[in-house]
Amino acid sequence: MGHESSVPLFWRLIKPRYQLIGTKCTSCGNVFYPPKFLCPVCRKEGKLEEIKLRKTGKILTFSIIRSAPAGFEKETPYPVAIIELDDGPKLTSQIVDYKEEDLKIGRRVEACFRRIYTDGKEGIINYGLKFRPA
């Protein structure tokens, strides 16, 4: 990611990033991941509560990165995808443990806990969820 990152910048988001915890608006019923601070549909009339999402979903689209940003150079090539979770929300992540034929739109995947990258400056190892064929 290349930003000279501090520790709080990362642990602040550990819960949603490690555990697939999103938010659900009890007014409109919409589920959000990444979690929201305000329901973008109901705004002041909305009320958000945390919700643990199921780890399964499917690939909506993908790419394979061959020219990486700082911090990810050694990972290339690596596939990234937009995944629609079975609980509704869409998110962006990497695909791992795949065979070539797994990289296709509609492929079912599930979340797994992995190292994302090591921050060059302070040596912080950043973890999070990647997705593998399910």
């Binding site: 689209t61 790419s63 061959r66 020219s67 940003p69 700082a70 937009i82 869409k90 994302i116």
Partner: protein
Amino acid sequence: MKVAVIGIGVTKFGEHWDKNLRELAIEAGAKAIMDANIRGSDIDAIYLGNMSAGRFVGQEHVAALVSGELGLSIPAVRVEGACASGGIALREGIFSILSGQNDIVLVGGAEKMTDLMTDGVTTALMGAADQEWEAYYGLTFPSLYAMIARRHMFEFGTTREQMAKVAVKNHHNGSLNPIAQFNKEITVEEVLNSTMVADPLTLLDCSPITDGAAALILCKAELAKKYTDDPVYIIGSGQASDTLALHDRRSLTTLDATVKAAREAYKQAGITVKDIDVAEVHDCFTIAEIVATEDLGFCKKGEGGKLIDEGATELNGRIPINTSGGLKAVGHPVGATGIKQAVEIVLQLRGQAEKRQVKDANIGLTHNVGGSGATAVVHIFSR
């Protein structure tokens, strides 16, 4: 809405190892002042589009920098909306005139990108996307547009050849444009066989890393004839936003912000898309031009590939698109691009586009996108 453009200026786009940000910005600004035949002291305010001078060259506060270097003490405002910074600066300059506060405004865009190494630029550009939920996972801009491309291929059958043809067309146009970074024609095969950057997009599907600046002198419409016999008027302006992260959008193959901004601009101008004679659209990647031609209404959704196949968007086609060479061939100094698009349309409407001149160009459009579509700005120009 009606505001006049009475002056234009632009630097060569490319790798300016010998020039820094302020020199590029001043060169473009001074050219625009000369072109408008005004004095520097006639200018009431400066609006400068710049995406990331803080990260590219360590310098914020760049509008005041430019104002100071020009020896002016007028209000100077830097405007940022990622790669749409130039288009937004233009809008803010227009608003400041319509508000009655200013008569003559210098609107510029500038970016100095080659002072960073390529991986630093890749990282800095991801500042236009969602840092916490996209960049964190190793995404790059080519990969975001590659995911749009993949989905467009899936939903509409768009092909790699069609994307390549966008690059071929824009390099052809760029070969006729003296300011373009790339002056060489390329072939579909060359695009398809160039280095893979983010499947399915290759290096020649991507706009390059570029230094450059562009500037306009805007003037209250009623005063324009005082300065020039040949003013170009801006008659419509639309801007809209969407979620910063691509994954949060309603659609992966339509930029809703473009659709909304265009609708507003057409309405203000009192025209429909059929009235547009020439357009500069945001082709940061070849797929982006295909999606833009659909979202702006030049063809139906999903038929952008067909449009390029038909040759409709070539210089002598039904609706010439990116006559300048676009971001693809002219280069994409991110904050400058929106203003450079306006410069090209003004040249076309003035009849000064030389070998790129489109016949009977009376109404032109610019379309400038920030990030993967979280910002879109559309302007309509008329003779």
